[in-house]
Structures are given as C-alpha cells and as structure tokens.
C-alpha cells in the first residue's frame, strides 16, 4: 500500500511539473511582459536594461526556477487586464463553476442510475430501447448545440427561463456567492446544468447498463436467485453495489471532461465562471491569466485523479497494489 501511495504521488508530482513547464513555456513565448508594463514610450536602451533587471535575459532554466518558486508560493503573476493577482481572479470565479458542475453531477446521478439499472434488467423492453435510442442521440449532439436549442426553446420561444448570467445570488460563509438559495438563482442554474449534464448522462446510462448486465450474469447472482431472494433485493443490493465501484472510478476520471465542457457551457450562458474567464483571457492575450488557469485546472485534475486511484485501491480488494 505504501509503495502504491508513493508511486502515485511521484506520478502526480511529475505531471504537475510538466504542467508548470508548459505553463512557463507559454508565458515566456506569448506576449511581452515589458510592453505590458511600460508601453511603447521607452527607448530601446532603457528596454534592454529593464529586461536585464527583470531577469528576462537569463537562461530558460533559471527563469523557470524563479517561476516555479513563485508558483509554489501561490504567486501566479498579475493579470494584465484586471491588474489583480491572477490566482485571486480565478479563485473568485471558482464558486460559479463549482455550482454549475455540482448541479450537473446531481442531474446525472439522479437520472443515470435508475435508467441504467432499468435498461440492464429489461434490455429488450420498449422503454429500454427508447432510453438507449435517446442516449445515442444524446451522444451525437454536441454540448453547445444542446445549449443553443434549449436556449431557443425555453428562453426565446417560451420565455420560461433566463438565458444568461447567474441571477440573484446570496453570500455564504463570507465569500462564497451561491445561486442555490434564491428562486432566481435556481432558475438561472437550470438550463446551464442540464446542458452540462447532457454530454455525460447518456454515457453514464450506457456504462451503468453494461456493468450491471455483466454483474447480473455472474454466478453469485444466480446463487442468490436460487436461494429465493426477491428480485428487487438482488438487483438493488447485490447487483447495484458491485456495479457502482467501477462507475465511481470512471466518474472521477470524467471530472477533466467536465471542466472542459464548463468552458463551452459558460460561453453559451455567459456564466461568470472560470471557463468563461479563460476564453476572455485568450481573446485579450492575458498571458498570466491563461497560465494561472492552466495550473489551477491541472492541479484539480491531478488531485482528483490521484484521490480516485487511491480510493479505488483501498476499496477494491482485487487490485494488486504492489504491482501497479
């Protein structure tokens, strides 16, 4: 176990190192920090002295070390546009993105488990065929199109739901603004969360169905049946329990995809989260903000993946920890 833990941590460390290296490479090749600071008005000679003073003429590796040291201290540079520390700008937008992801995960869990289990128990019934057909269509509709169609239907044609922004929010625990406690905030959450969920929901229905069907064909389920246990108990207690383990791992791994799709969803609904901020930063060539986003998102990926792996290793006794 300890060896597995150490190996996993080393891997996480290497990945973060590579991410920071890429971040630094972007920073040093995109835009000129000097021009952002002093503008065009300074003479060539003054420029050179300033470059020397700022260490911009140092070798790549020396500059990287300086960058790495700052990153470890939590200093990811200052956003050109906001004139504030980039990390602070991003962390201010984090709650909005997390609430969006939370809502989507809720929708996915509420719908995918019953539908997946049902289609596995009754694979040839017409309801199952309908669900599977819809899930294939769901996979084939790109997220941004789902968002556009939902906006057109519910916001433009029917005008039931708002089409952009977070609506009314209340402050929680000092700094966390939440939309979950006001009616307006919840209405604003609905379309973006459904849109974000739309990409994963069909995937999870199919996954749960496949796993469940495999579990139900195993000997211990047949044994439980021949013991005379009620079908409901076999499905929900014996079957579902063993189905969920791989599902949770896959789910944890999908956090990355989820973050990627928050960029798309936030752009459609002008949701003031990290993804929308990132695209704005790209359009403004706000290099420190781009790099800070890269490092924050990289850290989120690495932490969740490492945790999921470790939990899986702990929970599933069949994983041979030593040899991994």
């Amino acid at each position: 176990m300890v060896a597995f833990l150490i190996r996993r941590l080393i891997q996480a460390f290497i990945v973060m190192f590579v991410v920071s290296l890429i971040g630094f490479a972007i920073q040093s090749s995109l835009g000129d920090p000097l021009r952002e600071l002093v503008g065009q008005s300074v003479s060539e000679q003054q420029r050179e002295t300033l470059r020397d003073e700022m260490g911009l003429n140092d070798p790549f590796f020396t500059q990287y070390l300086r960058f790495g040291e700052k990153v470890l201290k939590g200093d990811l540079g200052t956003s050109y546009f906001f004139k504030q520390p980039a990390l602070e700008v991003i962390l201010n937008k984090l709650p909005a993105t997390l609430e969006l992801v939370f809502g989507a995960v809720m929708i996915i869990s509420i719908f995918s488990i019953p539908l997946g289990v049902y289609t596995a128990i009754r694979p040839y019934n017409w309801v199952s065929r309908l669900v599977m057909g819809f899930s294939l269509i769901g996979i084939s509709v790109p997220v941004f199109l789902t968002g556009i169609l939902l906006t057109y239907l519910f916001a433009v044609e029917l005008s039931w739901l708002p089409s952009f922004g977070r609506g009314e929010t209340v402050v929680l625990f000092g700094s966390w603004e939440t939309g979950y406690f006001t009616r307006d905030g919840l209405l604003h959450l609905l379309l973006p969360c459904i849109t974000l969920a739309s990409i994963m929901l069909p995937l999870f229905i199919r996954l749960i169905r496949a796993e469940m069907m495999e579990v139900l064909s195993l000997d211990y389920v047949k044994f439980a049946k021949s013991k005379g246990l009620s079908p409901l108990r076999i499905w929900l207690v014996h079957g579902l329990k063993n189905t969920m383990l791989p599902i949770i791992t896959v789910g944890g791994m999908q956090i990355g995809t989820m973050v990627a799709y928050t960029i798309v969803t936030e752009t459609i609904f002008q949701w003031p989260g990290m993804g929308f901020l990132f695209l704005e930063a790209v359009n403004r060539v706000d290099t420190p903000l781009i790099v800070a986003y890269l490092i924050v998102v990289g850290a989120i990926f690495v932490i969740t993946n490492t945790l999921v792996d470790l939990i899986y290793g702990l929970v599933n006794p069949t994983v041979k920890l030593a040899r991994q």
Partner: protein
C-alpha cells in the same frame, strides 16, 4: 533491409495466408450482415450523400459563399423557402451577411469532414505506431508509453485541444490563425486523441503476439518492424476500423466545439460549428434557421457515423455471436 526481403514468396504463402483467410471470412460476414439490415443500408446511403455533397460542393452549390461579389447584404436574414417571406433563390434562407445557407452548409460540411477525417488519419498514424511499439516490445517501453496515454486521457482531450488551440490563437493573432485554421485544427485534434488508438492496438497486439504465426515469422528471421507492420497489424484491423469510425464523429464534434468557442474556423470560411456559432446570436431575434439548420445537418452526420460505428462493433465483436 533484412533477409526477409530476399525471400518474399515463402513469406507470403506461409505466414500471411492466415491473414488473408481471416480477412475473407470477415468481409463475407460484414457484407452478409449489411444486406440483411435495412436501417444500416439507409445510414450508409446517408453518409454517402454527405460524402458526395461535400466532395462536389463547388458544383452543387448555387452560390460561392467565399466570393464576396456574389453576396448582397440586402439579402441578409431571409428565412427558408417554406417560411413566410422566403426568397425562391435561397432554399434554406440566408445568414446575417446575406450568404445562401444551402451553399454555406455544403461548404461547411466539406470543411468539417475534411478536418474530421484528416485529424483521425493523424491519430491513427500516431496511435498505431505507439500502440504497436508498446505491445510488441512490452516491459519498460510499454509501461512508460501506456502511463503517458493514461495521463493524457485523464486530462480530457477536449481540454488539451482547447488549451493548445487557445495558445496558437494568442500566439498567431486572429487573422493568421484564421488562415491556418484547417491545418492547426487537424494537428491539434489529431495529436490529442492518439491514446484511443494506441490502447486498442496494444491490446490486440498483446493477444496476437502469443500466436504461432508470429513465432514462425520470428524464427524465419524477420525484423521486428516487419513483423509488427506486415504481420501483426493486419490482424488488429477490425477493432481499429471501429475506433476509426467512432473517432471521426468525435473529431467532428471537437472541431465544431472549438469553432463554437471561436478557436476554430473563421467566419469567412465557416465549418458547420462556426456556422452555428455565428448564428447563435440571431436566435434571439427569431432568425432561428441560421443556427438550427446547420445544427441539424451536423447532428445527423455525427449520428449516422456513430450508428455505423456501433453496428461495426457489434458485427466484429465475437461476444455478439455467442449471444
């Protein structure tokens, strides 16, 4: 290169006969299954229509959407023919710049398919080379390559593609990026998705490596690269075909998503995704067709490819026959 090249007849007749036999059976099964399934014939015909339409777009299209002299801003936002106010010149209406939607969609499909197929060809090349190497040599090479594949996959390919495209765009500026967009999109989408292929090829290679014909080829003194590419690879083709099909759908979705975010094709040379993106703001002024019609065209294309891929997987999966 090696002594195998000196002895081609022996090589083909003895070792590769197994491959040919296998392929023949496979082809017969596929054709047989195809003839029996009307729905799949329909999907395939639809895909053929898409391919022909994009191949002959310049011939079919009544207007050239790239030619500014044929575009009149006074024709902007005309609805499709069947709606009130439709203009008989424009079957599917016009977009906000007065371009004929039908022609723009034809050209857009062409670009979407070009990028999709190009990116997947690149993925195949990278994935097959890496997967073959990992599977054939095993050991440290294998675990290193597969670890990299795991990590790359855990980062979500769309995320990596967005960041790569964003960096390119910020570095080149909007105008230059627009000119190079097709190449950049093929490169970005082609590079980030290689682990899918690499994993599949590796798994098949591990299974094939145990078989006697590989042993025979090795005994005959063939070099590793010849055994890998000429002997093992042909036997891993059926899972590759499935992934190849499904990945084209994914690549088209990725391209459309990037274009929607403004990181893909420019408005002057739109793919289906860029068309939908530029039509998005007009759905608020009731001009729904600018975004919705290309959207339907895109979804139908992806759906058809996904259905064909699923069908291929069911046909080629041995589990299916047991049931």
């Amino acid at each position: 290169m090696n002594n195998a090249e000196l002895n081609p007849i022996k090589d083909r007749s003895m070792v590769e006969s197994a491959v040919v036999g296998n392929k023949g059976v496979l082809r017969a099964q596929l054709i047989d299954g195809f003839k029996r399934d009307k729905f799949i014939i329909f999907c395939f015909s639809l895909l053929l229509v898409y391919l022909l339409a994009s191949l002959f777009a310049p011939v079919i299209a009544p207007f050239n959407p790239y030619d500014l002299s044929q575009v009149d801003i006074l024709d902007a936002e005309l609805p499709p023919l069947w709606e009130e106010g439709g203009d008989p010149r424009f079957l599917l209406g016009t977009d906000a710049q007065g371009r004929d939607m039908f022609s723009t969609i034809l050209y857009g499909t062409r670009i979407s398919l070009l990028i999709g197929v190009g990116a997947v060809l690149l993925q195949t090349l990278l994935g097959v080379a890496i997967g073959l190497t990992a599977g054939y040599f095993g050991g440290k090479v294998d675990s290193l390559l597969m670890r990299i594949a795991d990590i790359q996959l855990s980062f979500s390919t769309l995320m990596v593609a967005i960041i790569a495209a964003a960096v390119f765009r910020a570095a080149f500026g909007e105008e230059l990026y627009g000119e190079l967009a097709v190449v950049i999109l093929i490169l970005v989408i082609g590079t980030v998705e290689w682990p899918q292929f690499a994993r599949t090829v590796r798994a098949s290679v591990l299974a094939e490596k145990q078989k006697e014909y590989v042993e025979a080829a090795r005994v005959m003194g063939f070099g590793s690269s010849r055994i890998m590419w000429r002997h093992i690879l042909p036997n891993t083709l059926s899972p590759l075909l499935v992934i190849f099909t499904l990945q084209i759908a994914n690549a088209i979705i990725a391209e459309a998503s990037l274009s929607f975010l403004g990181l893909g094709m420019p408005v002057s040379e739109p793919s289906l995704g860029a068309l939908i993106s530029s039509g998005f703001e007009y759905i608020f002024s009731e001009s729904w067709w600018i975004a919705v019609i290309p959207g339907v065209v895109l979804v139908l294309l992806i759906l058809v490819i996904n259905l064909l891929g699923d069908w291929l997987r069911d046909m080629l999966n041995p589990k299916f026959y047991r049931m």
